[in-house]
């Protein structure tokens, strides 16, 4: 049997998923069209098992060896993924690291596709990621998502949605991706909780800020099984709150981002109402530096403002936020509920607090 190898270490931190999704992840990695030369499993489980003594795992390790992949299982200290990924940067002896979550199942062409993008970048690419799809909820990608940090504030990621087209440059990556160790000199945050929430966003965006390109390609599909047991789902709510506070500190104090979260307007009404709103918007734009996103029915109304506002369809808003949320911004509903006596434009100003 002949195999092709790449100078890549596949890194899989795991916690309590020995007999659920982790075997699926490992088999998907060792069945790639191009194999990683090394595989490191970081076991962060509270009650660690010697997997060599398990019938299934013993045979999986033999399969990995038969395929010529150097493998190791290293124990973590229960401090979470960020610590383990940081460790992998020095543990891995290859130039590239392919990090794969233990509930992710990459298609056989993922590694080769990510490597091809690295190759195209001629040394400028820090990391490449692909689609990370939940098979139980496949949706087309909302037009409002563009791979910038704004998506983080919208609570979404381009990787989660079906998408066609060409690879694109982005400002951060999600979950599983291939990266160059040369681009990882800043390391992973060590002040996150064991939940390590936002670890890859902070890691990859710092890479971007350090001048490396990040690429997202829709041609590499990894299935995300979102295991309800083990992994990040074991962590406590206070861990997530802690990590969110760290994230905000990083964004606003270290990266000095300002008003990254855009002001969102949703117009589910007629052309005339759009114009009445436009008057309110004109006043608002004169006083703000925030980005503006408008989901509406008649984007032509705002054609002269496209240098300041981003336009999306109302269907996109329903897709992103759900219909009940969109209906909260029905101006007539608002006026009725508030027994409105002023003008339509003033009603919009009141509804959106602008």
């Amino acid at each position: 049997m002949e195999y092709k190898y790449a100078d890549v270490t596949a890194v899989v931190p795991t916690c309590n998923r020995y007999f659920s999704t982790l075997p699926l992840t490992i088999m998907a990695i060792i069945n790639q069209e191009v194999l990683p030369s090394h595989l490191i499993i970081y076991d962060d489980s509270p009650d660690k098992l010697d997997l060599r003594t398990n019938h299934l795992w013993a045979r999986m390790f033999k399969t990995i060896e038969a395929k010529g992949i150097n493998w190791s299982v290293l124990f973590g200290e229960g401090k979470g993924q960020a610590v383990l990924h940081n460790r992998s940067i020095s543990d891995a002896t290859t130039q590239y690291i392919w990090r794969v979550d233990d509930d992710c199942v990459p298609e056989p062409n993922v590694l080769i596709t990510l490597l091809e993008e690295i190759d195209k970048g001629r040394g400028h690419i820090g990391a490449v990621g692909g689609l990370v799809l939940p098979p139980e909820d496949l949706q087309p990608c909302p037009a409002a998502l563009n791979g910038t940090m704004r998506d983080v504030f919208l609570g979404r990621n381009v990787a989660w949605y079906l998408r066609e087209g060409d690879p694109m440059h982005v400002e951060h990556l999600y979950s599983t991706f291939l990266y160059d160790k040369k681009a990882a000199s800043h390391g992973y945050r060590q002040d996150l909780s064991p939940a390590s929430h936002r670890e890859e966003t902070i890691f990859t965006h710092q890479m971007y800020l350090n001048g490396w390109d990040l690429v997202f390609t829709p041609h590499a599909v990894t299935w995300h099984y979102r295991n309800p047991e083990g992994g990040i789902r074991m962590r406590k709510e206070e861990d997530f709150l802690h990590d969110e506070a760290v994230f905000h500190k990083v964004i606003f104090e270290e990266w000095k981002m300002k008003h990254t979260d855009p002001k969102v307007f949703i117009l589910d009404d007629g052309i005339g109402d759009h114009y009445a709103f436009k008057h309110a918007l004109r006043d608002y734009l004169a006083t703000t530096t925030r980005g503006v996103m408008i989901y509406c029915c008649y984007p032509d109304v705002f054609k002269d403002m496209t240098f300041k506002v981003s336009m999306y369809s109302l269907a996109d808003a329903i897709h992103l936020y759900g219909r009940p949320y969109v209906e909260k911004y029905n101006i007539y509903k608002y006026m009725a509920e508030n027994n409105w006596k002023g003008s339509l434009t003033e009603a919009y100003k009141s509804l959106y607090q602008i």
Partner: protein
Amino acid sequence: MKRQTILISPWSRPRTDGKVNAKNYPYWDELVDLLIADYDVIQLMHGDERHVRDIPYEKNRTLPDIERMVKECDAFICVDNFLQHLAHYVGKRGFVLYGVSDPSLFGYPENVNIYADSKYFRQYQFQTWNEVDFNEDAFAKPGKVYEIIKTHMPINLATVKAVSDTIKEPGSDFIRK
């Protein structure tokens, strides 16, 4: 003397059940018959809207084109539809024909907002138009509307006289600033 141009937008969005929208002015034919004696009247049309009296029209124009036409005209006349909001945005004054909707909520004070009587205003101003029956009595008669227009034209000159706060003809029509 060059005739002034008036742009009209006679119709509101059709009801989904096919019935007449309560915002639609019922006397356009008669009003246009009066206006064309003194003004050049052009209708903005969209889709299969009714063409009033075979006057010149502009059909299915884009919003930027309509903005330009509004800026270039001497005045506009419309019902409670998109045109008054577009005109407000581009800074053009005109005449708005109201029936049951309240101009203090949906109109602009710089326009001449014309209606028959506030007693016809619908009680629930924010309900959908599918729930509102058409009532032609809610609208000012064409002769009265024509008089008001003549009185206020040219409405967009800087020296135009101020629109009165309220002018009531006993038992009939109001205009309201």
